[in-house]
Assembly symmetry: C2
Homo-oligomer: 246 residues x 2
């Protein structure tokens, strides 16, 4: 669905709450040197002889023979500090690769919600919220996160996209009990069957970290210059905030 | 986005509330002999020498040289009774053509909501709600209609699709004042600029008619055998209701 939105000149926020974008944010916060998103297992394997950790997830499981998948508990400081990780996931890393035409690609999750929104508000550029979904279908949890971003940015941005409007309304319905609301999500059901409910609870934590992963030369690294990135002379006041719940 | 859902063996409900699906339902109810949906203006023009009305809409306007577009007020009894109409619209007719792999293709709108849902409940087969959207983007009014269908069918169907869940929640937020809720829809804004707000009000009327258009041999005609279509021996109790708010 991604190619439907024009990304050129805009900031793309990659959203794959369960679990790729949450784990990427957590891993970069925990001082992984870089996370290299790749689309295929073959591409991931091609980095085998480099000094990298190889992470591959398909259909919610770690692919056989890989160091790990996309559980956030694999991205702790002790496991990733100073390391480069090559990662492929069912949905999230594909969205990153499909967003390369954007001016800038960053990664969002509930874990870094407020930091991300502060940075987006400072930048005051057009933003596309890229919900990875599950195998190209609409995902409730990604839409809810999009709604959380819209809620925080609605006074700074002009919103003229039905997806953003719907996401905001859904988030406002759900926000007092995200976990309860998501009981009815299809993906949660999928994760429950895989016995990784603790991952779900982890990914729904608000503002655990203030790190924003940004894509530079094909690698996700920590965005450092948050404060210096506000450049008054470049502010574009005609802003549209789009989102992709579908 | 349509190709993302498997349609084979399922009933596809085409939804393009503003205005194609509403006008098709109204026209078939008003005794149009048939409405032939075509994808392009050229295809529509190729029927010029036949005894047909030619209807073409692009970007909300009647295309120059055509009898009319997709305003429901062009589909009154006096205009369409006994006539065959060849119709192309920006979104709706394309969705119909993309749904040809479905077992059956019918057209839904608020105008025939209850009749449609009664028929779907009788059929008890898997249903895909195909929201046409606007140029492939998510549309609030189409999602709300999907939610209305889900609300009516939720006791008859098993729902395991996040799009259906989200649509239902949005509809329940909006249903007491659909028109007010849709004040914030992008498409409404588009239609307002074209001074066709009366079309919007018309399309939001609930249960004005009990006619269901069905696609037979490339033509939309009136579904007649509502009562005889319940066949107990073919009931499939494993049902999924999917929707495409994205």
């Amino acid at each position: 669905m991604l190619p439907l939105h024009e990304l050129e000149g805009k900031i793309a926020v990659i959203i794959d709450i369960f679990r790729a974008s949450s784990s990427i944010c957590y891993g970069i916060h925990n001082k992984a040197k870089a996370i290299i998103p790749v689309s295929t297992i073959e591409e991931c394997l091609s980095h085998k002889n480099e000094d990298c950790l190889l992470a591959a997830e398909r259909d919610g499981c770690v692919v056989d023979g890989f160091d790990f998948g996309n559980s956030p508990f694999s991205y702790t400081t002790e496991k990733v500090q100073g390391k480069t990780i090559v990662l492929t996931t069912t949905n999230g890393t594909r969205s990153i690769r499909l967003s390369l035409s954007a001016k800038e690609v960053v990664v969002g999750s509930f874990l870094n919600l407020t930091a991300l929104c502060k940075w987006l508000a400072m930048r005051r550029e057009s933003v596309v919220l890229v919900c990875a979904g599950w195998k190209d279908n609409f995902c409730l949890e990604d839409a809810l996160f999009a709604g959380a971003v819209v809620e925080k940015l609605q006074n700074d941005f002009e919103i003229h996209d039905d997806g953003a409007t719907a996401s905001l309304d859904l988030y406002q319905l759900a926000k007092n009990d995200l976990s309860g609301y998501l009981e009815k999500s299809s993906h949660r059901e999928r994760l429950r069957k895989l016995h990784i409910e603790k991952d779900v609870d982890f990914c729904l934590q608000l503002d655990l970290i203030d790190t924003i992963p940004v894509l530079k030369d094909g690698k996700l690294i920590k965005l450092k210059e948050v404060n210096s990135s506000l450049n008054g002379s470049e502010i574009d006041l005609s802003i549209d905030l789009e989102s992709e719940p579908g």
